[in-house]
Amino acid sequence: MEKEFLVEIVIESKPVLKDPEGAVIANDLMRRHGFEMVNGVRCAKLLRVKLNATDEKKALSIAENMVKELRLANPVAQTYSISIRK
């Protein structure tokens, strides 16, 4: 029996790349306004995907294949992570 899973795909720049948006949020918003404990921010893109699968493992593998086949993350410059949202 298939059921619907909510899969979250987070796509972000490789750590070697600068993230000017994250740096401004960390330095000019958080650290400047009382949250000096913040050491850094990286901005990412979140895709919340609803898909049908028989189980969690299958849902994750579908998402993994999709990221690779459709290049949802550009391997030149980005990394990704996939999880199931309960």
Partner: protein
């Protein structure tokens, strides 16, 4: 005269500029072709124009890279026909892996719309063969994601294989940080594939091809299209 296609994707908006210059200025046999109608066998070359295909969603060029037209463009590449991508066309070619590297968000995080200078690094591409190495010319840029990036080891390959075609520079030809509009690695503005038949660049030579449109009062952008025309005609 060889036929070339100017491929229109949903959201292309420099298609008419490219068409105008190709036909009216360069007297090339150019046709506008909708991306789902494009058949490579009818054409000797293709231009992928600028714009915001599919609203730049996810990443500029990624959705168009999966268009049926790109399967045809890949066949065209196998036959080593010339393919020129301008701005969003460059982004599409990179996302389709016909060109190396990636175009990231501008380092300023802003859309950049201004005239820049660039210099010719190699004249081996179909878009630069009528230039001499080191020639400097100006063209407008208009993009939010033009920040060229490639992994360090691949960058070395680009140099070794003479694949860097254009670099941003100042008016004197120096590659300075100030002359780099988007944070591109090593001031790279345009690259070609290993074989040299596919070329992409972020600036818009088609908008610098007529004196009346050019604040520098020249028409050197036209040399990009003259090069392309000469390559199509098979001149050595």
């Amino acid at each position: 005269m060889p036929r070339i296609a100017i491929i229109q994707f949903p959201g292309s908006n420099c298609d008419m500029d490219a068409y105008h210059v190709a036909r009216e200025v360069m007297h090339m046999n150019a046709e506008l072709v909708w991306h789902t109608d494009f058949k490579e066998s009818k054409f000797e070359g293709a231009i992928l124009p600028g714009g915001f295909s599919y609203g730049d969603h996810l990443r500029s060029g990624i959705i168009a890279a999966f268009s049926p037209a790109m399967k045809e463009v890949k066949k065209m590449n196998k036959e080593r026909k010339p393919i020129l991508g301008i701005c969003n066309g460059f982004q599409i070619l990179a996302e389709a892996q016909l060109l190396p590297g990636a175009l990231l968000r501008n380092s300023s995080m802003r859309f950049v719309c201004k005239w820049i200078s660039m210099k010719v690094v190699t004249s081996r591409s179909p878009a630069s063969r009528k230039f001499a190495k080191g020639d400097i010319f100006q063209a407008p840029t208009a993009h939010g994601e033009g920040n060229y990036y490639i992994e360090e080891e691949k960058l070395k390959e680009l140099y070794d294989n003479d694949q860097i075609v254009f670099k941003y520079c100042n008016i004197a030809g120096m590659e300075t940080p100030d002359s780099n509009p988007n944070g591109s690695l090593e001031n790279i503005a345009g690259v070609c594939n290993l074989e040299g038949n596919v070329i992409g660049l972020m600036p818009h030579p088609e908008r610098a091809s007529e004196r009346i449109l050019n604040p520098f009062k020249n028409e050197k952008g036209r040399i990009v299209l003259e090069s392309f025309k000469e390559y199509l005609q098979g001149k050595k």
